[in-house]
């Protein structure tokens, strides 16, 4: 089982390849969309590369759910994620920094939950579980 640093390095290299950014531009806190310029199609490419690189299977919607709230009004009101929505985020994105997001739960910032650190933690858990 690789160390957390080794996993981070490989995740970082994977993102550099997929998103055509320099490895030294990537930090654990980098957000995929805002900081690294990922577009929707890149998420699938990243999943493919992570599977190949780490020899794991990533079920559809597990790492990057297509629609977290599925338009349910109880989760988002007046542009903000509700407490029920925050609970939903904790369930669907267990490796994301939901606590940090909850401090100012603007729906438009939802993409900031997808960070390099989140992917690293996800991979770590998959490898630990032998998947």
């Amino acid at each position: 089982m690789p160390t957390k640093e080794e996993i981070y390095k490989k995740v970082s290299d994977t993102l550099a390849d997929s998103l055509n950014v320099e490895p030294d531009e990537i930090t654990p806190a980098s957000t995929l969309q805002e900081d690294l310029g990922a577009e929707s199609i890149d998420f699938l490419d990243i999943v493919f590369r992570l599977e190949r690189g780490f020899g794991i299977k990533i079920p559809r919607d597990e790492l990057f759910p297509e629609s977290v709230f599925q338009g349910d009004p109880q989760f988002v009101q007046e542009g903000k994620v509700t407490p029920a929505g925050i609970d939903e985020l904790r369930k669907k994105l267990p490796y994301a920094d939901v606590d940090g997001f909850a401090a100012d739960p603007q729906f438009k910032n939802l993409g900031d939950l997808f960070t390099v650190d989140m992917i690293t933690k996800y991979i770590e858990s998959k490898l630990a579980a032998g998947q």
Partner: protein, 174 residues
């Protein structure tokens, strides 16, 4: 001109790899424009040929039931220009094949000489929306392209009943 940038499959290993050839000709319109006085094959059209070779391979893996579109070219590297009269060999192999799409790695050579290499990612569009959003003409395998594969007896025979023998194609049925 028809939007077909491969001439013939010479090898087809379902779900794994494929090879197709493209004979370049000065009669092709693009040589007149690209560039006047210095006719070379546009790199974008070579990528299109590679994508058609790989796209057919991906489409075949799902019995052409999925709408396959070129989604992303993460890497492409070109080594040299290609002039009229060269025969390009497009070789692709599948890196990933999933229900959502596929990634291929491809190389282009001419008489064994490296010309280019690229990675190409395809996605499968939701069948119910695909035609509405993009129109049938934008997919990797139009009827014309499937016919090319049909000639190598890997796809159902063309509706018009025409067949051409092509014993030189090596293939393995899935």
């Amino acid at each position: 001109m028809r939007w077909i940038w491969i001439d013939r499959f010479i090898d087809f290993q379902p779900r794994q790899s494929a090879q197709a050839v493209k004979n370049t000709s000065l009669a092709e319109d693009h040589f007149a424009q690209h560039f006047p006085g210095y006719p070379v094959m546009p790199a974008s059209l070579m990528l299109e040929g590679l994508a058609q070779t790989g796209g057919i391979l991906v489409g075949h893996a799902f019995d052409f039931q999925e709408k396959v579109v070129l989604a992303k070219i993460p890497k492409a590297r070109f080594e040299r220009d290609v002039i009229a009269g060269e025969t390009l060999l497009y070789s692709v192999r599948i890196l990933d094949l999933r229900p959502e799409g596929a990634t291929i790695h491809g190389t282009i050579t001419s008489a064994g000489d490296p010309v280019a290499e690229a990675e190409i990612m395809f996605i499968h569009l939701d069948k119910s929306l695909a035609g509405k959003l993009f129109g049938e003409s934008n997919f990797v395998f139009s009827g014309e392209l499937k016919k090319i594969l049909g000639l190598s007896q890997l796809a159902p025979a063309p509706a018009d009943g025409s067949t051409l023998p092509n014993d030189s194609v090596k293939h393995t049925q899935a």
